[in-house]
């Protein structure tokens, strides 16, 4: 299999509390997005954060995995809609940690029932790189709902 490399760049100026930075993706999909500590842990104020980027990565990874498993089962989805929430909390003795990632997956999939959809979403979760990685240190919850 091919090895694929994807990279991002960050520029940061100053200390943590009052400094600020910018993040850019090497594909050019997004560029110069501002980040700061207050917007990371408090009101986002229109700024992204490492945790929001992880939420987007998880939703994207699982969407692709679910589409792949449904395709393998010859039941390709008309549409899947996912929402991922990444939760950071202070853990005693460890500082701030990602403690949970919760993903809701709803799908409109011809020729399938709710139980089969839930089973395939669980298989996709087990095969999603990000779910597997983060499950080592955080609670991963994936809920499946078939639209009828």
């Amino acid at each position: 299999m091919p090895r694929i490399a994807r990279s991002a760049q960050v520029a940061w100026e100053g200390n943590l509390a009052r400094g600020s930075g910018h993040v850019s993706a090497d594909t050019g999909a997004f560029a110069e997005l501002p980040i700061s500590l207050p917007s990371r842990i408090g009101n986002p104020d229109g700024k992204t954060s490492p945790e929001e980027l992880l939420a987007a990565a998880h939703a994207g990874c699982l969407a692709i995995s679910v589409a792949g498993e449904l395709t393998k089962a010859e039941k390709p989805p008309e549409v899947l809609a996912l929402t991922a929430r990444v939760i950071v909390d202070e853990v005693e003795g460890k500082g701030h940690q990602v403690v949970a990632s919760e993903v809701d997956v709803s799908g409109r999939v011809p020729g399938i029932d709710a139980a089969e959809f839930a089973r395939i979403v669980a298989v996709a979760d087990a095969g999603c790189t990000f779910s597997t990685l983060i499950r080592a240190s955080a609670a991963v919850t994936v809920r499946a709902r078939l639209e009828t």
């Binding site: 700024k47 990565a57 899947l80 996912l82």
Partner: protein
Amino acid sequence: MAERRADVTWTGDLMSGSGTIDSVGSGAFGPLDVSWPARTEDASGGKTSPEELIATAHASCFSMSLAHALAQAGTPPERLSSSAAVTFVPGSGITKIALTVRGSVPDLDADGFRAAAEDAKANCPVSQALAGINEITLDAQLDD
């Protein structure tokens, strides 16, 4: 406690279908397109991917953790330029992340900078969340 959210829509099968990161809770970006070919071929066609988002999350978390460590030590950085390169092998997952940082830090020597960077790499929340990745490397140097 902080909660951060993202919404994604996918249409169609894996190979010919496509997805969109419709929005994120902060409103900072989106919609962004994703697809299987763009994720797994060298030419991304300008589309992001889960791995690029993980690279961005890791580089930004690492930078903030390093800025914090340097400031705590009494040598806040003027500027840090960081990057993360994520290697993805379809079927195997993420096999490597290479972190690189160049810093402009008054009154700090190269060893002190490297030590602070190693600490940030070990302890930033995203590093901890990605601890299952076999190989995470760090190249940390002060600007000339």
